[in-house]
């Protein structure tokens, strides 16, 4: 897996949000995008994910395994995204939340096994029927990440996923994310304005022109 960002920039009504970006990310590698608030960090992620609002215009190219993402529809992109909030669906339990992300075409046994494996990897075995509203903040974040990964994305986007967690939790969850993207061998793009998130990874600064 390899993600390339080539001379990519976004304009809103003719105004450029940030100077054209160039970077590469290999499978298992994290890129941390930093910049002041309002510089378009979240907009960049939504452009990569395909959820960007049509008033924005994209220039340059985004390539995942040499296929351009520009103009592709959401379903074919295979990009996973974790938002600042965990956005667990409140009307579904833990296992149902995970099951929603599983690809279709698996038999019931396979689905159950995949969910149990994922829960075990998060030290949350047996949480299947728990109400998501009763989970702790750290547990919610882990379920949210597992759910994103179960959809088998080829690229993972993280929009300040650690901002809502306290210090000790941050550290362990960051390790959790890193180990999972390395196991899945997919590149991850992380948006943050906390310098400690940028340790040991490639940093891309967004500059307001």
């Amino acid at each position: 897996m390899r993600f390339c960002c080539e001379q990519f920039s976004i304009t809103l009504e003719g105004k450029v949000l940030f100077a054209p970006l160039n970077f590469n990310a290999q499978g298992g590698e994290q890129v941390c995008i930093m910049g002041p608030s309002g510089s378009g960090k979240s907009t960049l992620l939504s452009a990569i994910a395909g959820t960007i609002e049509p008033i924005f215009r994209c220039h340059g190219d985004l390539r995942l395994n040499n296929n351009s993402l520009i103009g592709q529809n959401l379903a074919n992109r295979k990009v996973g995204m974790m938002f600042q909030e965990d956005l667990l669906f409140p009307h579904l339990n833990v296992a149902q939340n995970l099951a929603f992300a599983l690809p279709q075409g698996l038999c019931a046994d396979q689905r159950r096994d995949k969910i149990n494996q994922a829960l075990a990897a998060a030290d949350m075995a047996g949480f299947n029927t728990r109400d998501v509203a009763t989970l702790s903040g750290g547990q919610r974040s882990r379920i949210s990440l597992l759910r994103t990964l179960l959809a088998e994305p080829k690229l993972l986007l993280l929009d300040e996923p650690f901002a809502k967690l306290d210090k000790p939790l941050r550290q362990s969850f960051r390790q959790f994310v890193l180990s999972h993207i390395q196991a899945a061998q997919i590149p991850a793009i992380l948006v943050s304005h906390d310098l400690s998130d940028a340790e040991d990874c490639q940093v891309v600064e967004l500059c307001i022109p």
């Binding site: 995204m81 009307h91 579904l92 339990n93 994103t148």
Partner: protein, 550 residues
């Protein structure tokens, strides 16, 4: 909107003396001159304006008063819980219940006689259908106050009331003055359309005016309605002119409502900042509990007395309760009127379901549109469009619709009737669902799309399921609205589809109180059942989901 325009046009033409089927082919103002020469027109107009404005004004004051007294108190929970069942009460059923309580032979005098009043026979008073319309005003206040309270509640969500009051108190303002000077000016502007709807309804309601309103003269809407139904078909033209006259009064009243704040504002501004911190009103809030309790007692006794009457065999005047009971009226009614019940239920369920479906489609399209459009489409314009049928007296366009249905041979059939119900049900379904639908966090939608890649699964499994409680209550509201429709059912159905509402109003004219009580109770009970189900079902489905509690 098209049927509304057709209906208004179809009323306007006969009002201008054009109704070819009756041999009137030339436009003239004869109908209007006979209308204005009619002896009761002006007294009926005066009565209508008086009843409409007074009841709207009292409802508004009462709603604001109760809101200010209770909103920040823990007892608000009780008021809030009482709102939905009262709102779900069809006004005709409530009117019948109220008349059973306050009539000279009603429950109120039965409970106090002869101990307090000394009456052994019902006194010769006119407490219902009184010539001043007091009982009609009382009913309208009872019915409209909870609606305005609900609207206040949704307006209050965007105002930091508690902080505002605390801030003002720290400057030495009494809390009631702080309410008047700081909170009210923020709450009233969003309340403008609901107040207009209340006023329009009070000016034009037919069913409750037949039950509780005076008869000589009746209110204008009842007068117009009786002309439409007169055996002398020439009176149709006069009726159409009357309906247009009522429409004019209605529009003029709404215009006054819009102009009044603008005139009063410069004068009020001085008062707002004059620094006065206490006033006569400082102590009035102690009355809040008394007002709320007497309000609830009146409502509950109105409904309770229906239940008693429906199982009564014999109830002599000053006895507080019946001396003999029996269930025969229930059995007899349930045996006889199954077509009435089926009509009511099928119309209500179908129109509510279709209205809900349409509302979801419109709102989903609006959401998509808002993503594409540069700025969010101004939702107020939509809302005004949906309020339109609520702001125009229904009698003004129903006659026109009836005329065009007769013209096309579609009158008295089920589908046009269903469509007519839909016209009234859709605004309520849409308006009650819209705030929840628009507030839905679009990130959940994006997350579901990214995870599943399927718009269908994201829509049905995530969005609609998360909105399920709002969908249920919108459905229940639509059901209630359809159940209460009186005039549209008569006009569009051509009298061929008796429903609980139409039968009840017909019975009130003379039938047995016990039979009336059975009908009123059914009309009251079915919507209540729907509301209870709408509240209970999401709670049962999501009983293990804390995040789904509203």
């Amino acid at each position: 909107m098209l049927p509304l325009a057709i209906g208004l046009f179809g009323t306007l033409l006969p009002a201008l003396n054009y109704l070819p089927s009756l041999g009137h082919n030339e436009l003239s103002t004869t109908a209007f001159s006979t209308l204005f020469n009619h002896p009761t027109t002006f007294s009926a107009t005066w009565l209508t304006l008086r009843v409409g404005w007074i009841s709207t004004f009292i409802s508004l004051c009462l709603a604001l008063f109760l809101f200010a007294c209770f909103y920040l108190r823990p007892s608000w929970r009780w008021i809030n819980a009482a709102l939905s069942p009262v709102l779900a009460t069809p006004h005709a059923a409530l009117a019948v219940g109220l008349s059973f309580v306050i009539a000279p032979s009603g429950w109120l005098l039965r409970l106090t006689s002869p101990a307090l009043t000394g009456f052994d026979y019902p006194p010769n008073w006119q407490t219902t259908q009184d010539p001043w319309g007091v009982s009609l005003i009382l009913l309208m206040v009872l019915k409209e106050t909870p609606f305005l309270l609900l609207m206040l509640l949704s307006a209050a969500k965007s105002v930091p009331i508690k902080q505002t009051i605390t801030l003002a108190q720290s400057m030495g303002y009494h809390s009631s003055i702080a309410w008047l000077k700081l909170v009210l000016p923020q709450l009233l502007p969003p309340l403008r359309l609901p107040i207009c709807a209340v006023l329009a309804w009070s000016l034009s309601a037919v069913d409750v005016s037949v039950i509780l309103g005076p008869s000589t003269p009746p209110t204008l809407s009842v007068l117009v309605y009786s002309w439409f139904n007169d055996a002398d078909i020439a009176l149709r033209l006069q009726g159409a002119a009357g309906a247009i006259w009522l429409l004019g009064l209605n529009l003029a009243s709404i215009a006054v409502l819009f102009v009044l704040p603008r005139i009063a504002w410069p004068w009020l501004q001085g008062w707002l900042v004059n620094g006065q911190r206490r006033g006569l009103l400082s102590h009035i809030n102690k009355l809040g509990t008394a007002v709320a309790v007497s309000y609830l007692i009146l409502i509950i006794s109105s409904l309770f007395v229906l239940a008693i009457w429906s199982i009564t065999k014999q109830w002599r005047f000053p006895d507080p309760l019946p001396s003999q009971w029996r269930l025969r009226y229930w059995q007899q009614t349930l045996d006889q009127f199954s077509p009435t019940l089926i009509n009511s239920l099928s119309l209500a369920l179908l129109s509510a379901a279709i209205a809900l479906l349409l509302s979801v489609v419109i709102l989903e399209l609006e959401t998509r549109q808002a993503q594409i459009a540069k700025h969010r489409a101004n939702p107020l314009r939509y809302v005004a469009l949906f309020y339109l049928p609520l702001l125009i007296p229904d009698i003004a366009y129903l006659f026109g619709i009836q005329v065009s249905l007769v013209f096309t041979g579609l009158d008295g059939q089920y589908l046009p009737l269903l469509w007519g119900h839909l016209m009234f049900v859709l605004p309520y379904c849409f308006l009650s669902l819209a705030p929840y639908y628009r507030r839905f966090d679009s990130r959940y939608w994006h997350q579901a799309m990214l995870l599943s890649g399927s718009p269908w699964r994201s829509f049905f499994q995530i969005k609609l399921m998360m909105l399920l409680p709002a969908l249920f209550s919108s459905l229940a509201l639509g059901f209630t609205v359809s159940m209460t429709l009186y005039l549209p059912t008569l006009f569009i159905g051509g009298g061929r589809f008796p429903t609980l509402a139409t039968e009840l109003v017909a019975l009130v004219a003379g039938a047995d109180r016990r039979l009336i009580a059975v009908y009123a109770l059914l009309l009251q009970g079915l919507p209540l059942l729907m509301f209870v189900a709408a509240l209970a079902l999401p709670r049962i489905i999501f009983r293990h989901r804390k995040g789904m509690r509203i």
